[in-house]
């Protein structure tokens, strides 16, 4: 089981999913019409480290975060 958190303005409760990698996460989240616009502009972190590939395996207890476009200052 992994936990998926939606940060900042996405305003969606977190999810608990039985998935093995980020490709499976992409497939699940793309089904959600409300999320599809966000996915185009979101960065992804696994256990608070940004990732650049969907291939890395996930393990039980991993935390995945979706980070929409930022604007500090």
């Amino acid at each position: 089981m992994v936990r998926v958190e939606f940060l900042g303005p996405i305003q969606k409760p977190s999810l608990e999913l039985e998935i093995q990698n980020l490709n499976e996460l992409a497939a699940v989240l793309q089904e959600d019409a409300e999320l599809s616009e966000w996915l185009k502009n979101c960065a992804v972190a696994v256990n608070d480290t940004l990732v650049s590939s969907l291939e890395a395996p996930l393990k039980d207890g991993d935390k995945i975060s979706l980070l929409p476009p930022v604007c500090g200052g």
Partner: protein, 148 residues
């Protein structure tokens, strides 16, 4: 040093503390940048969400880069609401000579805008409206979208 505050920043106090904290560290230059909320588009102020774990690791990486040049970075940012003419952001670089600090403050603030996990909202008629048009996707965004 990274400091997060609820609401607006007490700019004179923070700048003074940083100045005094490094007074005998033998830095020749102290270059602060202060970001203040301006009146535009009818807003009452701004509001911020911060994701601290990634902000901390982003900041630590910059602190290492500064250290390699004999400099240090300090940063303060607000969480929640900051009203017009109040300040939400201070970044400062201390370095032995001015050139390093002048260049570093520019690079640091630009990367802060593009990469730091902070989300900005306009306060408009009592509502919090995400500043989508002023926001920047973090490098590598779109990984989970259909095109991939």
């Amino acid at each position: 040093m990274l400091e997060l505050y609820d609401g607006s920043l007490d700019v004179p106090k923070i700048l003074k503390e940083w100045y005094e904290g490094e007074a005998t560290s033998n830095y020749g230059a102290y270059i602060p940048f202060v970001g203040t909320v301006r009146s535009e588009d009818g807003i009452d102020g701004l509001s911020f969400d911060i994701y601290e774990p990634i902000l901390n690791s982003w900041f630590d990486a910059w602190q290492e880069k500064a250290k390699a040049k004999g400099a240090i970075i300090k940063m303060a940012h607000s969480r929640g609401d900051v009203m017009l003419h109040e300040s939400s952001y201070i970044a400062a670089v201390f370095s032995p000579k001015r050139r390093v600090a002048l260049e570093f403050i520019d690079e640091f603030v630009e990367d802060f805008k593009a990469s730091a996990p902070i989300w900005k909202y306009d306060l408009l008629d009592g509502k919090r409206v995400y500043a989508a048009d002023r926001s920047t996707p973090i490098k590598g965004s779109g990984l989970l979208a259909k095109e991939n």
